[in-house]
C-alpha cells in the first residue's frame, strides 16, 4: 500500500464533494419527513424546510398515530411475519444448502437447478393460484399465509448463498466429528451452522427488506384489519388521513425506524471489511 501513487488533495476533495452531494439527495427526503413530523400544522405548511423550533415543536402527529390502537397491532403483525419468515428461510435454506453441498447423491445437480429457478422468477406471477390455494385451505387473512409465501420466496436465494459458504467449511472438521460419533444432524447443527453465521446475516438482510416492505401479498392475501402489516396499514392510514399531515408524517417516521434499527444491527456483516477499514 505504501508505494501506492498518492491521490492529490484536490482530487480527494472532488471525490468527497460528489459523494456528499449524492448523500444529500439520498437523505434529504427522509430528513424532511422526520423534521416536519415534529412540528405543528402551521409550521409544516409555512416553512417546510425549517427544523422544529421550541415555538413550532409539537408531538400531535405521534399522539394521533399512537392513539390509534390498530397501528401498534400493525407493527406487531409485521414483526411476527418478518421474524418468523427469516427464521424459517434460514433454517430450511441452511438445511437444504447443507444437503446439496455436503452429500453426493443422484439428482443433486438437478435439485440445485430446480431450487435456483426461484431466484430469477418472481413468486408474484403465481399469485392467482396462490390466492386460490389459500382460499381452499382457509388461510386467507391469516399471518400464516404471508409467512408461508415469504418463506418460499426467500428459500432459493438462501440456498444459493449458503451452499457457496458451506463448501468452504473444512472437511477435516466434519470428518473429525463423524469419527467422534456425531450424527449428521449434530454435525450440521453443532459444527457447520455456527461457522456460516456471517453468511446467515447476509441472507437475513436480503430476506428481511423485501418482506418488511412488501405491499402486494398483504394487500391480496391478508387485507383484514387484524392481519394488516405496517406497510399496508400505513398505506391505508395515508388514504384516510390524507389531510392530517401531522399524523401522516409521524406514521411515516415511525415506519422508517424499525427497518433502520434492523439494518444497523446487520450492516456490519453485509460487506466484508473494506480496504479502508481493514
Amino acid at each position: 500500500m505504501s508505494n501506492r501513487a498518492r491521490m492529490s488533495p484536490v482530487r480527494t476533495g472532488f471525490v468527497h464533494l460528489a459523494l456528499a452531494a449524492y448523500t444529500l439527495i439520498a437523505l434529504f427526503p427522509v430528513f424532511l419527513t422526520v423534521i416536519n413530523s415534529f412540528k405543528d400544522r402551521n409550521a409544516i405548511f409555512r416553512s417546510p424546510l425549517q427544523v422544529p423550533l421550541p415555538s413550532t415543536f409539537s408531538l400531535i402527529g405521534y399522539k394521533t398515530v399512537l392513539g390509534q390502537a390498530d397501528f401498534l397491532n400493525y407493527f406487531q403483525n409485521s414483526f411476527v411475519v418478518t421474524i418468523a419468515s427469516i427464521v424459517l428461510v434460514l433454517l430450511f435454506g441452511a438445511m437444504a444448502a447443507f444437503a446439496l453441498s455436503e452429500y453426493r447423491f443422484r439428482g443433486n445437480a438437478l435439485m440445485g437447478l430446480y431450487m435456483a429457478i426461484g431466484i430469477m422468477i418472481p413468486i408474484r406471477l403465481g399469485t392467482v393460484a396462490i390466492l386460490q390455494g389459500m382460499v381452499e385451505t382457509g388461510l386467507v387473512n391469516t399471518l400464516t399465509a404471508l409467512i408461508l409465501v415469504y418463506t418460499a420466496q426467500g428459500i432459493p436465494l438462501a440456498i444459493f448463498i449458503l451452499s457457496e459458504f458451506m463448501r468452504g467449511v473444512s472437511d477435516d472438521l466434519k470428518n473429525a466429528g463423524r469419527i467422534d460419533g456425531l450424527s449428521e444432524y449434530a454435525i450440521f447443527f453443532r459444527l457447520v451452522l455456527p461457522l456460516v453465521r456471517p453468511a446467515m446475516a447476509t441472507v437475513a438482510v436480503f430476506t428481511m427488506i423485501p418482506i418488511w416492505n412488501d405491499l402486494w401479498f398483504p394487500l391480496i392475501l391478508a387485507p383484514s384489519e387484524a392481519t394488516k402489516t405496517v406497510t399496508l396499514g400505513s398505506q391505508i392510514f395515508i388514504g384516510q388521513f390524507v389531510t392530517n399531515w401531522n399524523a401522516v408524517l409521524a406514521a411515516l417516521s415511525l415506519a422508517i425506524l424499525p427497518i433502520l434499527v434492523l439494518y444497523v444491527i446487520f450492516a456490519r456483516q453485509l460487506i466484508p471489511a473494506s480496504r479502508q477499514e481493514r
Binding site: 500500500m1 508505494n3 501513487a5 491521490m7 480527494t12 471525490v15 468527497h16 460528489a18 459523494l19 456528499a20 449524492y22 448523500t23 439520498a26 427526503p29 427522509v30 405548511f45 424459517l88 430450511f92 438445511m95 444437503a99 452429500y103 447423491f105 431450487m115 429457478i117 430469477m120 422468477i121 418472481p122 413468486i123 408474484r124 406471477l125 403465481g126 399469485t127 392467482v128 393460484a129 396462490i130 386460490q132 409465501v149 418463506t151 418460499a152 428459500i155 432459493p156 440456498i159 450424527s183 427488506i209 416492505n213 405491499l215 402486494w216 406497510t231 398505506q235 401522516v248 411515516l252 415506519a255 422508517i256 433502520l260 450492516a267 460487506i271 473494506s274 480496504r275 479502508q276 477499514e277
Partner: protein, 316 residues
C-alpha cells in the same frame, strides 16, 4: 479364483444404508418451495388456458390470449403497459445503474474517509418501504407544499417546475426517477463489492505502468467488474418487469393520470383483483401473469445464454 467368481463379486451391490438424513435436510425447503411457489406458478400457467363458460371452468385453448391481443380494449391496455414498462426499464438502465457504478467507483477510492457513512446514507432509501418513498416524493413534488419549486428557485429554475406527477407525459419519467432514487443502493453495493475484490497486485501493476485515475477505471477495473454489471442488469430487468408497489402507492391502482404510468404489475393487479367497478378476472389475470412470465423468462435466458456465456471471467 475363477473369472465367474469375480463377476459374481462385482454384481453384489455394495450394501449402503439409505441416507435418510439427506431427505430430511432437503424436505422442508423442497416442500414449502414446491407447494407455495412452483406448483402455483404452473397452476397459473394452466389457468391461462381456462375460462368460465356458463360458470364452469372450461378449457378454452388460446382464446384468453386472443382476447388479450385481439380485443381492442385489452390489447390497448396491454401494449400501453408493456411500452411503459420498457421505458421504466430503460430509465433504470440509463440513470440508476450508471450512477450506481459511478458512486461505487468513487467509494472505492483508496484511503477515502467516511466511506461507511456515505455507504449507509446512500443505501438508506433502499431500506424504505414503497409507501414511505411514494408519499414523501408526492409531498415534495406537490405544488401545494412547495418544497420542489423552492429548491428549484435556488438554482434559478423555478419557472421550469410543473406538477409532474399529475401530467401524463412526465409522470412516468418522474415515477421512474423516484424508483431510481430508491434502488440506487443495490447496484452501488454490488459493484462496490466487486471493485473491492480486485486484487491489489493488479492495481499496483497498472500503477507501475503509469495507468492511474480515470484511465485505470476504464481500462483495468471496468473489464473486471463486467460480470457484476451483467448481474445488476438482469436483476434490474426482473425487478422492473414485476414492479407494482411504487406505482400503486404514488398513482393508485389506476396508474394515473390517464394510465400513463400503468406497468405490467399494476395491469395484472387491476385485471386479477379488480378495482372500483371492474370485477376481478382470474383467467385473464393468469393470462397476463403467463405473458409476464414469458417476458421475464426470455430476458433471463438471453442473459444466461447470450451474455453470461460470452463474458470473460478472470481468475486470480
Amino acid at each position: 479364483m475363477s473369472d465367474a467368481d469375480m463377476t459374481e463379486l462385482d454384481d453384489i451391490p455394495i450394501k449402503r444404508p439409505v441416507r435418510w438424513h439427506i431427505a430430511v435436510f432437503l424436505a422442508p425447503a423442497f416442500i414449502v418451495y414446491s407447494a407455495i411457489m412452483v406448483l402455483p406458478l404452473i397452476e397459473t400457467l394452466r389457468l391461462s388456458f381456462y375460462n368460465l363458460v356458463d360458470g364452469v371452468p372450461t378449457f378454452v385453448g388460446l382464446s384468453n390470449y386472443r382476447v388479450l391481443f385481439g380485443d381492442l380494449r385489452w390489447s390497448h391496455d396491454f401494449w400501453n403497459a408493456l411500452r411503459n414498462n420498457l421505458i421504466f426499464f430503460a430509465i433504470h438502465m440509463c440513470v440508476q445503474n450508471p450512477i450506481g457504478i459511478a458512486l461505487a467507483a468513487l467509494l472505492s477510492t483508496p484511503k477515502l474517509r467516511f466511506v461507511a457513512f456515505y455507504r449507509t446514507a446512500i443505501f438508506l432509501p433502499t431500506l424504505l418501504s414503497f409507501v414511505i418513498v411514494g408519499f414523501i416524493w408526492k409531498l415534495i413534488l406537490s405544488p401545494i407544499w412547495g418544497v420542489a419549486p423552492w429548491l428549484m428557485s435556488l438554482v434559478g429554475m423555478k419557472s421550469l417546475f410543473a406538477p409532474w406527477l399529475g401530467q401524463s407525459g412526465p409522470a412516468l419519467v418522474a415515477v421512474s426517477l423516484i424508483s431510481n432514487w430508491q434502488y440506487i443502493g443495490i447496484p452501488m453495493m454490488l459493484i462496490y463489492a466487486a471493485l473491492l475484490s480486485i486484487p491489489e497486485e493488479v492495481i499496483e501493476a497498472a500503477e507501475c505502468d503509469g495507468i492511474t485515475g480515470w484511465s485505470q477505471f476504464w481500462k483495468i477495473k471496468l473489464p473486471l467488474i463486467l460480470p457484476a454489471i451483467g448481474i445488476i442488469s438482469i436483476l434490474t430487468f426482473v425487478g422492473n418487469f414485476n414492479a407494482f408497489d411504487l406505482v400503486y402507492t404514488i398513482q393508485g391502482a389506476l396508474a394515473g393520470p390517464d394510465m400513463s404510468t400503468d406497468i405490467l404489475g399494476t395491469f395484472l393487479y387491476r385485471t386479477f383483483f379488480g378495482f372500483q367497478l371492474q370485477l376481478g378476472d382470474r383467467s385473464m389475470g393468469a393470462t397476463i401473469a403467463t405473458v409476464m412470465f414469458l417476458i421475464i423468462l426470455a430476458g433471463v435466458s438471453f442473459y444466461l445464454f447470450a451474455i453470461q456465456r460470452r463474458m470473460r471471467r478472470y481468475q486470480f
